[in-house]
Symmetry: C2
Subunit: 462 residues, 2 copies
Amino acid sequence: MAKEILFDFNNSLADIVGRDNGFSRTDIESMDGKISGAVSRIETIRKEGNPGFVKLPFSRDVASEINAFAESIRDNYENFVVLGIGGSALGNIALNTALTDPYKRKKGFPKLFVMDNIDPEIFSSLLEGIDLKKTVFNVITKSGGTSETMSQFLIIKSMLEKMYGEKYKEHIIATTDPEKGDLKAIAEEEGYKTFYIPQNVGGRFSVLSPVGLLSAAITGIDIHELLAGAEKMETRCRERNYFLNPAYMYAILHYILDVKKNKKISVMMPYSTKLRDIADWYRQLWAESLGKTRIVEGNSLFVGQTPVKALGATDQHSQVQLYVEGPNDKYFVFVGVKKFAKDIKIPTGFESKKSINYLSGHTMGELFHAEQKATTLALTKAKRPNSTIWLPEISENSIGQLLYMLELATAFAGYLLEIDPFNQPGVEEGKKLTYALMGRPGFEEKKAEIEKIDRPNPEYVI
Amino acid sequence: MAKEILFDFNNSLADIVGRDNGFSRTDIESMDGKISGAVSRIETIRKEGNPGFVKLPFSRDVASEINAFAESIRDNYENFVVLGIGGSALGNIALNTALTDPYKRKKGFPKLFVMDNIDPEIFSSLLEGIDLKKTVFNVITKSGGTSETMSQFLIIKSMLEKMYGEKYKEHIIATTDPEKGDLKAIAEEEGYKTFYIPQNVGGRFSVLSPVGLLSAAITGIDIHELLAGAEKMETRCRERNYFLNPAYMYAILHYILDVKKNKKISVMMPYSTKLRDIADWYRQLWAESLGKTRIVEGNSLFVGQTPVKALGATDQHSQVQLYVEGPNDKYFVFVGVKKFAKDIKIPTGFESKKSINYLSGHTMGELFHAEQKATTLALTKAKRPNSTIWLPEISENSIGQLLYMLELATAFAGYLLEIDPFNQPGVEEGKKLTYALMGRPGFEEKKAEIEKIDRPNPEYVI
């Protein structure tokens, strides 16, 4: 049986890092009502299956359908390109980095490219650098009208059509809302293979839907095992005693450290290069779910920690100076891997050189673990609160557990903060301004507003 | 003549984003003495050439030597692997991402790999995935004894030696201190080709030394033009009127917004995928230089903004919700590119679809620029202070200007904060703890200390 991930929060205790920086039982007990409220809301979500992310671990039929499709097309293509941004991209990237080999591709499995930006230099480079004949594109947008993704789609569609005429359609897959939106309509008109995102699953909670599963299956990741890991975590997190519930406890500690101990920054620092893009995926999950303006008695309250992704051991040589000696305004989450799938012995050599000969005979993995422990201890000694999520190993099962734990923790944290973790009203203004600047009909007033405010003083441009 | 980069700080003005969030002339005038002091210190550095980063833009002889060497070995290899971490890696990565093509490699130029971690799974993958016969390794460590880099070196050296015997040495280059350290001694004993880092240039200020220049030259980047850009900026920043000096002004604004307006987070958000790793390089520069504990009358003062790297337009779908609606605790620096080297027209199609038809006829670059402006305006309307660095285009010259401006600004900010921007005392404890955990002779007491404090309570591991 696959092993469970562990959450070690010893170094978040006031007894260890001081009352200004860590939690005590009193801190938790004083918010007991708030916690019970959040537990109830999560249990309602479970009962109603809405928002739908709680049901995704059980969607094995969808996974089987995806696997069958992946198998049917895998041999025909060398490249699988996702056109998507935000929640339509980050899960794909996170799974790919964690669960495929970066320098040695599995034979018979296409290579994944995720085009999550509209940089014309990069997009041109891709179109010139890959063989379009051997490429299939998955256009992912929940709304069906995301400007970045649809502009990529128009370009690709036109290129493929020039090359293949009607047969261009074989190179395009659509992943979108099952009922609404322009991509859904276009896919039907044109006859693209289409996968659907459940309507009550938002982008940042969609990694275990077809959004994340299709590219995973295509590149050889065992998506059933990924879902099994998520299901294991969901089952485990039905525990109402939050002292035994890793998702609830994660959220409670972050809430206390943010609101009561002024740790406004949430650093996730895996000691594994393969987990670095999970920290990036988490960055969207945490920021977009919790970064909200709450109106309390007519006043605006700006809430939400700023997530920061870091990487051990690399960032010991970049960020740890600040983490140890700079402002004590961060809560650190290390993600460690107990057993590496491969390890390398450090050979002997240059025995007279004191700065290196102690390394010989150890493995690289031992050095990696020693550095993780050393950084943890150094931060703890400097009274910087931290905790560690331990993965037994990097596998589909453990990654499924991790992703689901963080999703549930984020929703729980949203309820503690008394905001809606599932909306994102703050991005609307930027979208409207973009429409106005691009001359979209209906946004003429916005355009006039821009012309009024966009008048930089040349004195302040140097 | 190559064009200059511009720094637009209109949206940092109190008149625009409010007195709690922006600067006024009064804020600046009230710190006139502090500013003059910092100017004097920078001028002393220039006069003495120490710290040596101010002299690097003028080191054209070194660049010529590097170019000659690069030309002599380039044809023999397909892969150029840097073994280095922190300041020995970040500059290489930043230049490579900014100035080479990600999907279409220049014919006749080796591909760069930067191994800046000790993840055994990733290191194994590299060793199995590339052809060692066609690979040369550049071992970079200023001290000559960095544990991560030296463990990589011992592994590589042993593998190559088994394959080639004595001739293994042709596959190894050393880049280190000209006088001290174990790598310097080993390189001499073994007879490796060696490049030297000036003794008074620290890792995070070393991108324009052989540390960053060699891999750049090998992969086809014009390093003379890079230095020419840096020299242009150095010359420009000799202006004593700081209202005309982009590096000084950048530092002054960050100081005011950090210390007086409580913006504890410095977000760098380029609208260019190619510039994303410059934001990561900057993250080390800013954090490790400024994240310090200052002792004032016996009390510890923890200073330094936390740098965050973001990427436009990608992070509009990840972080902008938080940036617009969350805590107003950030100062944003956008980096824009006026003219893209390539652009792509968005074709017509699906005219009846309102959510996409306004895109047709524009270029992808126009959409990218519109989104940058929209995000800038949305943040400004929400009273979030921001500024923009404009590059005329992405070129060796403009990147040279940008890197040097940020280095000088960082040093200047250090003097405003009254700390030493060139040391990093906070990482020593972690190093000692690692030595102890790895059983290095001389660290037995540390080891005993660890055993005393490293006793997690199993109740808090769930």
